[in-house]
């Protein structure tokens, strides 16, 4: 089933980690196999923040194979070596969990080359790369993941998140949302629904050199949009094309460093409730998600079929 939520503060910042946690926790009945956050923080915009994993969480009902922690250490060592080869300078390094790391990096060259090099290490995946984006995803419900990664104090402008009930692929971090819009800095996607032309699209996109890290159908949206943008389309144009290019039922959110968008399939088969005001836009699979940040009486509505909307911060 899955639940998605997102919010954007326009012209302001807030504790978006805490707010999104409340929204996703309200949707936990839609799935708590894994929860993911794409948070757009308040940064100086100088350095990249790379969130990556060197292994899987093998607890919490995971379908992944257990590995020795020494394997994670070994992978980290190789990544550090590759970063040096790429002339990327590590400014700050945090190892939040044995398999999950956060690096602040000084780097000014091609992101595609960078990502391909880092992800050539088996078992290593970049969860996000951006100057304000940080993707944090792990197994468990929103509250558990928020606590594990100390997300409630993160201040930012906007955020999207996902509460997942695993149906199309395994219970693991690689299949969890949000998906980074590789190789674009600061692009992330969450999705509720099923895509029925996944393999057809995937074959075409892989032949064009795009990368897939999981077998989760939702990843296709991130790759599809990234490919459109690589060919010069704007985010909104790419989203509008996806309404016919992607087959199935879907509601998805996409975020960039300064915008947040939503798209709903042409049959409006998946739910979405939306609240819009001059300074805040909040949306989710159910109204109770919005109520966690706006408990007072508010005007909300369901966007219609085939609707695409994008808001700027």
């Amino acid at each position: 089933m899955c639940g998605i939520a997102g919010l954007i503060h326009r012209g302001n910042t807030s504790k978006v980690g805490f707010e999104l946690q409340g929204m996703l926790q309200a949707l936990k009945h839609r799935g708590e196999d894994s929860t993911g956050y794409a948070l757009y923080g308040k940064t100086d915009g100088q350095n990249f923040i790379m969130r990556f994993k060197v292994g899987e969480n093998v607890g919490e009902g995971s379908t992944s194979i257990m590995e020795d922690v020494s394997v994670y250490d070994e992978r980290k060592k190789i990544v550090d070596g590759y970063l040096s080869d790429l002339e990327a300078k590590i400014i700050k390094e945090e190892r939040i969990l044995p398999y999950s790391l956060r690096y602040e990096i000084e780097y000014d060259k091609d992101l595609m080359e960078f990502s391909q090099k880092i992800e050539s290490v088996p078992g290593v995946e970049i969860l996000s790369m951006g100057k304000s984006l940080e993707v944090i995803k792990d197994l468990g419900n929103a509250e558990a993941v928020c606590k594990r990664y100390n997300l409630d104090k993160l201040v930012g402008t906007h955020a999207i998140g996902h509460a997942r009930m695993a149906t199309e692929s395994g219970v693991d971090i690689k299949s969890a949302h949000p998906f980074w819009g590789y190789p674009f800095s600061d692009v992330s996607v969450v999705h509720n629904g099923q895509l029925t032309n996944y393999w057809n699209n995937r074959r075409v996109l892989e032949n064009k050199g795009m990368r897939f890290m999981s077998e989760c159908d939702s990843e296709l949206i991130a790759v599809y949009l990234a490919e459109k943008m690589r060919n010069g389309a704007t985010l909104e144009e790419g989203m509008k094309e996806s309404l016919t290019g992607l087959d199935g039922v879907f509601t998805y959110f996409v975020a960039t460093k300064d915008s947040l968008g939503m798209a709903k399939d042409t049959m409006a088969a998946k739910p979405l409730v939306l609240y819009e005001s001059d300074d805040l836009v909040a949306m989710g699979s159910e109204e109770i998600a919005i109520r966690s940040v706006l408990p007072q009486e508010i005007e909300t509505y369901d966007p219609f079929d085939g609707e695409v909307k994008v808001w700027q911060i």
Partner: protein
Amino acid sequence: MANLKTSEKKTKAQSMGLHSEVLTGKTQQKFFNPDEAENFYYFGTYDVDFNKRTEIDVKNMECREANKKIDELMKDGYGTIVIKNPQGKHSLGVGILNKLNLIFEGSLGYFGCGSMDGPIVRINGRVGWSCAENMMAGKVVIEKNAGSCFGAAIRGGDLICKGSVGARTGIDQKGGTIIIGGDAGAFTGFMMQRGRIIILGDVGINLGDSMYDGTIFVGGKIGSFGSDAVEAELTDSDQDWLRRKLKVAEIGENFDVSKMTKVVAGKKLWNYDALEPTEKKGAI
């Protein structure tokens, strides 16, 4: 099992296109008849007094607890119950088979007021998906917008949304009337079998897709017609009924009903009436 026969003499409901067959024999099914509105009130198990009024705050209650509380209050004779702080909770006000004035001071989530038979409900907010699903009788008025599958499979009563509604409004509708003050989404009236839908605003694509029977009236633009949905002549009788219905619903004051588009089933796709009686019995 209803004994289905074809009668040459048409009732008022038949002449207005609500249905074409006549039910005789022992059956619990009733068709809408404008002359028998009082028959649509199902007097349930509790004897309540509309003048006996109370309020409950459901802010910290789960939906089961809130619904149980409503039941207990009806048992105590309360005929007017005000629900404070529903805050988008799901499944509130479901399964009420009693006459009752129920007022929600706020918005409901999914499946609000589902499977009810008799109450008069006012929701001073918005409702989520599948509001009033399977309603048998009564009246539900929503002051703001509604989600998708609004009035799914209702069998009777009036369901009124003063704002706009999502997709698949009146899906599988089997009777009653749905009135929308604003716009409606795609697949409105999808597979509807009886009853009527009135939309004062625009409607999305595939209107009345695969509808068996029933009537849809649209005041604004139509995105596209669905399979087997066709335009029909708007009669004087239709216009009289529309004016009266909108007046009772307190919606669309001064709306020019003469310019509405009437949509019915073309009866090419699914036409049980074309079947032989034995086939019809099997199909039902």
